[in-house]
């Protein structure tokens, strides 16, 4: 198990009802974190155009996560 701090933004924050939480998760990749937190909060948002960052660096979903990491889950962006 790894202690992972997960931060939620925009619609993800509203689905979760909080902006951040630290969880003990059995995860290997950023994708694992997305899937486990999605089922935890009952969100149905498809991964589609969602993005992820680990420790303030944009990464691929297949990137490894380590104990103590902060994972930022971004719903589809809408700048401009």
């Amino acid at each position: 198990m790894k202690n992972i701090t997960v931060r939620y933004f925009a619609m993800f924050r509203e689905h979760a009802g909080l902006g951040e939480e630290t969880l003990s998760l059995n995860v290997s990749t950023a994708l694992d974190v997305f899937e486990q937190t999605r089922s935890r909060h009952g969100s149905s948002e498809p991964i589609g155009h969602c993005k992820v960052a680990v420790n303030d660096e944009m990464v691929d979903w297949s990137s490894a996560v380590n104990d103590g990491d902060t994972v930022l889950l971004f719903p589809p962006v809408a700048g401009g």
Partner: protein, 149 residues
Amino acid sequence: MFAISDEEIPVGDLRKGLTDSGAGGLCVFEGWVRNENDGRAVNRLEYEVYEPLAIQEGTKVLEEAKQKFPFLRASCVHRSGLLEIGDCAVWVGVVAPHREEAFKACRYIIDQIKNRLPIWKKEHYADGDSDWVNCERCANVNAQSGAGN
């Protein structure tokens, strides 16, 4: 220079800041808040921005644009917070010796800013409802037609 601002974008100052004696022209794109989307009347918009990564990624976009379409100077500022109809939500300015690079770089910058930066838009409708803009659909439309605001 790329920045996020929670106040009105100082368009005049940004324009002056791009002055360059080698410049043959300035190409500007301003994104404005409009009063409807998909047939629904919109009263105002709210932008949520994750600033550390928005600034990092926005700066990267300007550097990429300069590599692709060599220009002299460029600036881009995106708003955060609550905006009213007609407000300027994003400003892009590029100066170059000739219009070709200025137009192309400006287009590249606004397209990348819309698709890559951690910025989210919530529309507040005239009927009292509000919703996050579904940009999976926006991204698909933009890819096909270059549409958007």
